[in-house]
Amino acid sequence: MNRIGQHLLWLAVAVLGAFAFATVALSRGEAVSALWIVVAALCIYLIAYRYYSRFIADKVMQLDPKRMTPAWRHNDGLDYVPTNKAVLFGHHFAAIAGAGPLVGPVLAAQMGYMPGMLWILAGVVFAGAVQDFMILFISTRRDGRSLGDLVKSEMGTVPGLIALFGCFMIMIIILAVLALIVVKALAGSPWGTFTVAVTIPIAVFMGIYTRYIRPGRIGEVSVIGFVLLMLAIIGGQYVHESAVLAPLFTYDGKALTWMLIIYGFIAAVLPVWLLLAPRDYLSTFLKIGTIIALAIGILIVAPELKMPAFTQFAQGNGPVWSGNLFPFLFITIACGAVSGFHALISSGTTPKLLENESHARFIGYGAMLAESFVAIMALVAASVIEPGVYFAMNSPAAVIGTTPEAVAHTVSTWGFVITPDVLIQTAKDVGENTIISRAGGAPTLAVGIAHILHQVVGGQAMMAFWYHFAILFEALFILTAVDAGTRAGRFMLQDLLGSFVPSLKRTESLPANLIATALTVAAWGYFLYQGVVDPLGGINTLWPLFGISNQMLAAVALVLGTCVLVKMKRGQYAWVTLLPTCWLLICTLTAGWQKLFDADPKVSFLTHASKFSAAIAEGKVLAPAKTMEQMHRIVFNDYLDAGLCALFMFVVLSIVFYGFKTAMSARSAARRTDRETPFEPMPAQASAASH
């Protein structure tokens, strides 16, 4: 009877979810509250967690609470520590949630909120959360080893190396794309540039404080840092309004690019305690705080959705990014639906801290659902602002023009009626000189967040404060990712180059460090610069490359999961990872193919290159370029991007090939062939500690 009662409760959740879904899906013309999206998403998460993740845990993985985890086996109180489930959930969530789930959905909103919402929800339940959970499970049963190691030991050395090389290239693209978001948000914005610049001395002060003044007092120093940050935002307003100071902090994209490149180099070679670690405290706590604040804000304000469920750009040819809904929506929203990068976290620190194997469900599957919810909130934030403002902010200047009048005219002809005054007033409200063509997602998200939070705290007068708070929060954790990523790239590169020049392998050697860091910074710096000077806004080129590479890594992780299931002789459940693998392969390979060979020069790198080559042959200079030299550079960059795209496709195809081989030979074997660490029972003190 009790069981039936429980299922009835879940049935009620399902009905509520379906009703919320119908409300947002079937609205025609009348205003719909964003709360319905939140309710629909939460109901789907709850049901997916209760039924699907439980099925995976009990039947597919057969999690064993009596099996010793690496945290107990290697317990050292440092890297390997049996950690409370809720505490570890926080750690894992903070590690996976970054800029990705915030930016992708904002860009996807050009098709209306519905396509993005459907993909975020379906993607997370059947692909993203499954991947995170699966890799966490596989790594936990193999002493917490890393993804590259796991691929190597379960599938062979060659695919292992290919996967590692793929990771390095993805890292470069991610760093370029993240840095581009910051450049786009700060270009021509003295307020934003000032507050972000001030975070550097604040972080250095915090670093010295935790090193020498009050060693290790993280909580204390974070509170001090937070207060200083708030003062920096207020100071930014002063700078913005001052005729003397404002020009000192007003830079165009190119200048900011050079500053970021120089900054990235210096930050990556400084000792970690001085800049990286303290800024990481600020960005992590600010990130968690802002996410919670946004969730509460949406609940209190219950803002109306202004963006239609579908816009005419759902047919393709939207101004924000080119290409059709299939496959490009599934590339644009990576994190939040499914993100390959999580496989690195799920096979990184988390499996070494897992107190009990049965917790993997809550942490692997559950934390990804939470990240997906962040993506849903980003989608809401982008959909509650005027669609006219959204398109004015996200369309490239080459399409909509540069003056408020021209922009308002163009955007209005698309059916999103807006007046020049609204564009000017919105810029004024958020304390910017202009909001036109601020592509990259971050400024749009900031306007959305400010739109929601100023109704909770501060009213109209605080709008600009909230906008710059949101920009600061994004820039902070992107900058943390940029120097942590540069460091990680440097280590990978030293490892790679060390195979040829042994002296470069020594990570403690200063010249080797400087060379590898410079090479890594140069690699992402090149793509960043290319994105900044791109007349179509850069995001157009780089974001699809980022999406393709990230989904590709997810496909690699899911191929690994499938191989392990087949090797465990659980082939009857292999569809759990095989279906999302197939979907991701279809999306990434189609998107990759179109990026290479589509007939539309806006979509395809090669068609674009041949269009410009033909013009060069005739001695003509085409629109964005102003000189012959720029024409040549555009062609070169097209070929470079095409090469990178082809490389990603090669990586994923070769992993699929090796995965297929592995699965076939595992099927013909008579017994299990996976490389799990042998079963050991939990130590006696474990059962006392866990409950």
Partner: protein, 64 residues
């Protein structure tokens, strides 16, 4: 009731510290005392520095 709130607060603090790569120091000390009574555990400051280097020095990737 009060004890529960205290526990929650403790877990919250632990969680926030672990988010930035600092595991619980008391757990570390307890572990050292029970398994390696012959070795002196690191002081909190040493522990803090060791963890900071371990988090950022080894080149572990961060997510998007």
């Amino acid at each position: 009731m009060l004890e529960q709130i205290g526990n929650m607060g403790r877990y919250l603090g632990q969680s926030l510290r672990l988010m930035v790569g600092l595991p619980d120091y008391q757990t570390y000390v307890a572990h050292m005392e029970s398994t390696h009574p012959d070795r002196a555990p690191m002081t909190y400051e040493e522990f803090f520095r060791e963890r900071q280097e371990a988090r950022y020095g080894g080149g572990q990737g961060k997510c998007c």
